[in-house]
Symmetry: C2
Subunit: 333 residues, 2 copies
Amino acid sequence: MRVTIHDIARECGVNVSTVSRSLSGSYGVNDETRQKVLAAAKRLNYVPNRVARGLATGRSQSLALLISDVRNPFFAEVARGAEDAAFAADYDLILGNADLDRERQMRYFRSLVAKQVDGLIVNSVSGLSEEEVEELRAYRVPLVLLNRSEGVQSISSVSADNFQGGFLAGQHLIELGHRNIAHLTGPRQHGNLTERAKGFLKAVHQAGNSVHAVVIHGDQNQQGGYTMARKMLLSQPGVTAVFTANDAMAFGVIRALIENGKKIPDDLSLVGFDNVELASILQPPLTTVHQPKYEMGEAAVQILLRQIARPDSGPEHRLLGVQLVERESCRKA
Amino acid sequence: MRVTIHDIARECGVNVSTVSRSLSGSYGVNDETRQKVLAAAKRLNYVPNRVARGLATGRSQSLALLISDVRNPFFAEVARGAEDAAFAADYDLILGNADLDRERQMRYFRSLVAKQVDGLIVNSVSGLSEEEVEELRAYRVPLVLLNRSEGVQSISSVSADNFQGGFLAGQHLIELGHRNIAHLTGPRQHGNLTERAKGFLKAVHQAGNSVHAVVIHGDQNQQGGYTMARKMLLSQPGVTAVFTANDAMAFGVIRALIENGKKIPDDLSLVGFDNVELASILQPPLTTVHQPKYEMGEAAVQILLRQIARPDSGPEHRLLGVQLVERESCRKA
DNA sequence: GCGGTTGTTGCAAACGGTTGCAAGATAAGG
DNA sequence: CCTTATCTTGCAACCGTTTGCAACAACCGC
């Protein structure tokens, strides 16, 4: 059995409550006694039992991050940001990969609540039914969503400025002189991606009638980008520039172009979104919209910590800035 | 306050112990009573408090994964494998990024032990002092190392067959007819990478005197690969093939070659190690040695679960197979 | 010298479960 | 009908902390 405060108390000839107070540093214990206790704790190699502490205080000192998949570099970066912020505040982070499986997500929620996590960061909640969101809310655990969900004002969120990102991408291509631009994006109704498309279209409309834009929907991954690009090459031969709603799709576009013997940026300019590490390594390096992924993880934890400290404080929505990273996948039209 | 078993007991007019037994499914309770309890639990929306349970049973029902950095796709993949296996067994996974910082690693250990994690998967322990390893051992928490540490027989481990991987890479290049091969690797004394180098050299020696090999040490990342490649192009102009000890270094090599106007595989054949996702996306797709990353995570959790179930069972060392994935970065010499 | 502070410590009740043991009820066997 | 075995349930201790309250001593000012 491990050493407990009872052992220390016996060793020092004091009551456990004195030991507890000495260790947790709250005032009200004589300095001499405290030193004695501290020395004994060290000598006996005492490790406090956080579970017991958690039971007594109602705090588990852990947060959870529930995302689709850490293998997605975007989430890995978020996870690292969250983990660093949590570690700094002496919390630890439980990781859950829920894919986009509703059932799995709910199973996780229940398990995490049962474990008394002090706060929860969730990728997205958009797939959940009204009832499920209600159940979630009933748990009364501080919650922050990564990427704001439409219409869920009451839950804190951290998002990148997707609209602005889409706008920047569109503006950039237009400034380079492109007049026939395609936007490759995911399925309709996907909050984030929809925002990006809206921003993009704003830039297009601002440019007036001279610019022609087409939006193509498909799967929001490399394969989807590949498929859409192939289709586009056939149906839209006049396109000179492509903006994809994420980098993965851009990689698919690159593959399709290589297969068709076309070169970037000579035959087609390309702008991605996310700025995953790969984007800078690829040849040519991809121009893309940088999302502050690490910072999003950090911010989410900060909000959580604040909500834990002041449970009655309202929800907070943080919109983090994005920026266009110009590399070599675009050229003047 | 949340619903507890006491509430359910009151509701059903039975003792808490009966409720506990009904819920945890251990036999010894009348079926009718159990149904009544289950119904009440559901009706009241009861969520068991795992912290309390943990205190009583000494089990926290959570495992921890302590790695350098999730942003490294290798670890992200391992993490996902571990998480899936843990989830399936109704455990959850605490994630820790310790970089290679000893202090941070030790802080994590203590915190995790304090939290009564039931098992711990650790990236590497090689940087720790004797004393620290001893402290770790004293905690008596089931432990498995990702990548076996030299001379630490007493702690379970899961590793890829690095030696065999190095051998396969060397053999492949030799079979293609290369006679002047460079191996770019990390600092000396790095367990894994050393094994890879050894395997590579075995292939070289097996081929007899006709094959000339040079081993270059540097940083085990993209930048290191870049630097070493530049140096090599100057000092070893006769080299026709390169084997890097990981994919990241290979990406650095590619960058250096592009800068020098050289083409892969025409001017130089290249083999990496790891098979990160990026390797297949790059142009040209990289020939590399596949490490079963996901499976390593899974295996680590399985070992942990076994050790938790039978604490007196000895350590287990699992060596997972690797395979050469031939893509388009090599050609006949 | 006395009442009132202030500071230090101990006592004991939580926190929400689990579990060994005993008691009572019921059924089976002789 | 009594004994014994089997089921079902309750009681209470325990897991390792925290924390409100009371007790006590020392010190203060008057």
